[in-house]
């Protein structure tokens, strides 16, 4: 089993913003490319499929050159048929392969809920573990520059309601590589949620193959007065906000869950035990968001630790407007986190 040789990185070795041991710097995009490259090299069962994965653009550069290196049988373009593609990947996984299916926009994944939810996610349970579906669905959400209502959705909240599906949403290059590897070696379907604004983020990334446990969060910044749990790209905004809060004399702790399902409930509870306050920043629409679920968990499990109401900082419950002015009003930023945090701490 090639995978037993993988070096599983311990969370303890992990520092802020992808600051792992070593000082090799990669972008998030490069980290993903490396995860694909090394996984394809390592395991003949791994293959990549999706619309445009083999073209010159190569999904924002993340799959560039892989077809040339591993052949058109293992890295290939597909028809624009998202639902069937998902089922095809699931079927290949049932037969023992480890497909990575890519949707360049999260919106397109909505076409595939039948195969993703009714089939891939339920199969292992339905058949008592006799047939497993070790597939990765990688999906990218975007923001800004007039992407509009059909090219910018962040629907990870919706997908948390799907039993049998694991969901990861790494925010740093280090996590992007490690969690992609984990997603590939996991024998359950894993949804890999990526935000395009993270692609240019840089951080320390070891060259060797490593994996990060799915379901383990990490403290990105220690603090005493308020816990900010950030999802995906909102980590960047949260860290900026925490900096600003410090200038304002407020000590914020920033928690990066990294995985949304299973979720690291302990890290939330422990942080709230310290701070007594909880703000959750998510990239999706507020109602039914990942933030809602996190809030519900906290209201159940950390209630007596909380001194103040929970706050969700999310997009409003509207489709994404195209207008730059409306986009600006639409997307929450460090400023919004800062303001809400100040309200919570100062009263």
């Amino acid at each position: 089993m090639p995978w037993t040789t993988i070096q599983v990185e311990k969370l303890d070795n992990f520092f802020i913003m992808g600051d792992s041991t070593g000082n090799r710097v990669l972008t998030y995009r490069e980290a993903l490319h490396e995860a694909f490259d090394q996984s394809l090299a390592r395991d003949p069962r791994v293959f990549i499929m999706g619309e445009g994965v083999d073209d010159a653009a190569g999904i924002f550069g993340t799959t560039k050159g892989l077809k040339e290196k591993y052949g058109a049988d293992r890295v290939f373009d597909t028809p624009i048929s998202e639902n069937s593609l998902t089922g095809i990947a699931a079927g290949a996984a049932m037969a023992g392969l480890r497909p990575i299916l890519i949707h360049a926009r999260m919106d397109f994944m909505l076409l595939s809920f039948d195969q993703l939810v009714n089939h891939a996610s339920k199969w292992c349970y339905m058949f008592g573990g006799k047939v497993t579906v070790p597939m990765v669905v990688r999906t990218i959400s975007a923001r800004g520059w007039g992407s509009g209502a059909q090219h910018s959705q962040c629907i990870q909240g919706m997908l948390m309601n799907v039993p049998g599906l694991k969901i990861v949403a790494p925010a740093t290059p280090y996590d992007a590589k490690g969690l992609m590897v984990s997603a590939i070696i996991d024998s359950s379907p894993v949804l890999f949620v990526e935000h395009r604004w993270l692609h240019k983020t840089t951080g320390h990334v070891p060259e060797e193959l490593y994996s990060i446990p799915i379901g383990k969060g990490v403290i990105r910044r220690e603090g005493r007065e308020i816990t900010i749990v950030a999802v995906s790209y909102m980590l960047v905004e949260a860290l900026k906000a925490a900096e600003k809060l410090q200038d304002a004399g407020i000590s914020a702790e920033v928690v990066d869950l990294r995985s949304l399902k299973p979720m690291d409930e302990n890290i939330i509870v422990e942080s709230v035990a310290k701070t007594g306050r909880l703000l959750i920043a998510d990239t999706g629409c507020k109602t039914g968001s990942a933030a809602s679920e996190i809030a519900a968990v906290a209201a159940e499990k950390a209630f007596h630790l909380l001194k103040k109401p929970i706050r969700r900082v999310c997009c409003p419950d509207t489709p994404t407007p195209t207008s730059d002015v409306l986009e600006k009003a639409y997307y929450p930023t460090a400023e919004d986190i800062f303001k809400e945090a100040v309200n919570l701490v100062i009263e």
Binding site: T78, P79, Y125
Partner: protein, 324 residues
């Protein structure tokens, strides 16, 4: 085809028929606490196709997949136990009649979502191609599934990649109570194959020899890397869509239509043929039935006496418990 295979097909059809009749009879005792969809009348399709499959080939069935499970060699005891939702069932009681599985013989699970299994079977065929083995996949589905986009998307993909998959449409003319012609323009399912650049045939699904002939060709095409085939088998279910009730007459299926198809019983036709050919006689018929009855008896005994799953198992298997 050797004559021993004829008898094997005959036996498979009888096995399907008698098992389903027994299920039908037992259903009223309300111990099979799950929807069932019987294939009585449609036995020739599964029997004629699966005779050409190896143990390591894959099949994917639908909500109506007892016949394929049996024909592919699925474990009968585990199947009946699954209908009784016992811990000894093929899916440990968590699947039921619509969700049969037996990976040992290439049955990777059936789907109760119309059209849902077509991409899955296309996917196992993709795996065969990537792994460069010669395992063939057969996807069985109804005429109703041809209404769904997945049918088209999958056929396109399979042909584009020349995948070793045979699409077998069991056209019994109805999706629940809805006739094909109230859902589709014309009765031309097999014709889709043409545009997808694969062979497509409409055949008499109640003639097991015809089914077998076409299936054999299609399967060997797959093994030779020549890509997919679509076979539309015209057939008819004798029972109502679901459960054991009938749905003939009075706002449902016309009595004449039903009578016509019952008169074309695939088993009767084949047994008459085999008798004519001197391959079958009343003794053999009886001995086959005897063997089947005892097998069925054993399976039902096994199932009825098996323990049910324990509530403590509820949370098991949500995720696969290993990496690999």
């Amino acid at each position: 085809m050797e004559k021993s295979k004829w008898i094997e097909m005959y036996r498979t059809m009888r096995l399907i028929r008698l098992i389903e009749q027994r299920i039908n009879d037992e259903y009223k005792f309300d111990e099979i606490k799950t929807p069932i969809h019987l294939s009585i009348g449609q036995e020739a399709v599964a029997a004629g196709v699966c005779i050409h499959l190896r143990k390591d080939d894959y099949v994917f069935g639908t909500h109506r997949s007892h016949a394929q499970y049996i024909a592919k060699g699925g474990d009968i005891k585990k199947m009946i136990a699954e209908l009784y939702l016992r811990k000894t069932g093929c899916a440990y009681g968590r699947g039921g009649s619509m969700h049969l599985v037996d990976p040992d013989v290439g049955i990777l699970g059936s789907s109760a979502i119309v059209g849902g299994n077509i991409p899955l079977g296309t996917g196992t065929a993709l795996a065969s191609k990537i792994l460069k083995n010669d395992r063939v996949t057969v996807v069985f589905f109804g005429d109703g599934a041809a209404d769904e986009g997945t049918f088209h998307e999958s056929l396109n993909f399979a042909s584009l990649k020349k995948l070793p998959v045979v699409y077998v449409c069991e056209n019994n003319f109805y999706a629940i109570n809805s006739h094909q012609l109230s859902r589709q323009v014309g009765d031309n399912i097999y014709k889709w194959a043409q545009n997808y650049g694969m062979p497509g045939y409409r055949i008499d699904g109640n003639d097991v020899l015809e089914v077998s002939d076409y299936a054999e060709k299609a399967i060997s095409r797959c093994r030779n890397g020549e890509g997919p085939t679509l076979i539309e088998c015209l057939t008819y279910r004798w029972k109502g869509h679901i459960g054991t009730v009938d749905d003939v007459g009075d706002g449902y299926r016309p009595k004449e239509e039903y009578d016509y198809w019952v008169s074309r019983c695939p088993i009767k036709r084949f047994s008459e043929y085999l008798i004519n050919m001197g391959v079958l006689n009343s003794e053999l018929i009886e001995s086959i039935d005897r063997e089947i009855y005892s097998l069925i008896e054993e399976a039902f005994n096994f199932a009825q006496n098996s323990p049910k799953p324990s509530p403590s198992e509820l949370l098991d298997y949500v995720y696969a418990d290993h990496t690999g």
